[in-house]
Symmetry: C2
Subunit: 332 residues, 2 copies
Amino acid sequence: MTGSTRPSEDDLIARWLRPLATDPAALQLGDDCACLTPPPGHDLVLKTDTVAAGVHFFRDDPWDLVARKALRVNLSDLAAKGARPLGYLMSLALPADWREDDLAAFARGLGEDQAIWPVSLFGGDTIRSPNGLVVTITALGAVPTGRMVRRAAARAGDRLYVSGTLGDAALGLELRLHPESAETWGLDAAARAHLARRYLLPEPRLALAPALLAHARAAMDLSDGLGIDLERMCRGSGVGAEIDATALPLSQAAAAVLAVEGTRLAAVVGGGDDYEILAAVDPAEASAFEAAAAAAGVPVAAIGRVLPGAGDVRLLRADGTAAPPTGGFRHF
Amino acid sequence: MTGSTRPSEDDLIARWLRPLATDPAALQLGDDCACLTPPPGHDLVLKTDTVAAGVHFFRDDPWDLVARKALRVNLSDLAAKGARPLGYLMSLALPADWREDDLAAFARGLGEDQAIWPVSLFGGDTIRSPNGLVVTITALGAVPTGRMVRRAAARAGDRLYVSGTLGDAALGLELRLHPESAETWGLDAAARAHLARRYLLPEPRLALAPALLAHARAAMDLSDGLGIDLERMCRGSGVGAEIDATALPLSQAAAAVLAVEGTRLAAVVGGGDDYEILAAVDPAEASAFEAAAAAAGVPVAAIGRVLPGAGDVRLLRADGTAAPPTGGFRHF
């Protein structure tokens, strides 16, 4: 369609968004608000996150993947809190030149994720964007009352675990910005595709949520990099931590990069967009946690331990030296 | 501060946003998610709305008023649903050139509104904006289970009411774009200030929520203009409506404009940003509704009635002719 026959906002909602509003709480997007009857005996876990063209994704990224990323970065937080996701509200800011097939892809991407995780669109807002696609999603999940897994609850002596592998997304972004690095690193097509995919499409660890709820003392998802996020957990908890660089879990692709260029450890410790889970687990719960994670099909790796000294967060390198995992400061 | 000493995101949150996170559900913004224990016996009413520089406000508008507008457009929806507001999540996209005093004003504006209505910031996200300030707020309110006042529930025979006065914000916007209109319309300083204020800062009708909950059959807030919004209520309800142009409530300022330029009735019927309430009330409840509104200090005016014929929505003009209140179609 041309701009002059562009569908109205009501038409757009009816055609592409209403099919995503599968829960009765959404009232088929036919009201000003959603109306959610909270699950009895549960707290609601609430998170909002925005992704914007040119900031969190490239302007030429496919809209189905942008939509899924926008949803998944929020689901990742719910997973870390031990929550079962219920649904989401979405504010969609469309650039002036949006095309119907882009929007169809956007809705298809959300539908594909809703088929994986049983969430519903609850409601939203659609506006013109002054500059590129911007998607804000507010996700709601449920945990048994008083049981949300906190970030600021780690205790000295706890073991530190991370799910999956670290650094892939940061290396995927690096490859996107500097495709010639693939040659330097000697990566084959499969390795390149793995890293690219990990940047484009996070894998929220919702399968790990029950294990966290049952066995973790503290947890958070890793969005800004292990170093910064671990410092946040420690600062909130009034503790320190020591992590072992040689224990950080790597994909084959990331291991290949580090074998060629060891300084890329910075991407593993400091790179963002991992969307893996960092958890502090009482040693008495460690084997039960590991078993529950294995049963859920989510790999977890023990990477270090929580220390008593507030603010003392260090990375033990392979050569035996120790350093803060970050500069301890971040502009945004 | 200069760009190079710009505070980190964590510092920004601690300094300006944490003081707004007054409810325990916010966990002092020290976790990845908020954790809300829903009020027993209640449904949660959920709404998300975005305001963007250059789309919903002017780039030189004061940030305290932008913040309050962003919050209030959401509170207005909760009011229409008969809900008691609990709190909100906020995604704040800051332009590259944001200044600390702007952000201080932004937080001060929210704090002023939180002093009027007892809501808390629950959580949020802060990002760089590619182009100007963008604020997305997701508001949560509570209504007794099953009692949310619906939009699509009007019935033939219901009386139609609106709160406050209509068209002021649209005329305020017109004055902002064409200040010379004030001369044409013969407006004094007080009238100009009234219209300008009504555009800048909506007044969510939360005081009317209990009267709506007790007595309204259907309700919605007016954000896109009475004509479009009434058509939406009627379409959802499978009914029609007739409204009387001479019954539409006007401020002194708007009445003065219409006395000079009668075609400005279009701003009253079709102008956006009223943030008043449109309610359909069973005639048997009408006097109780009017009494409850009066007791709450919110003026309401009877403007017409709901008709049986689906899709038959008409505005009766002073000269006795009738027409659809809108073209029935809206680009965005």
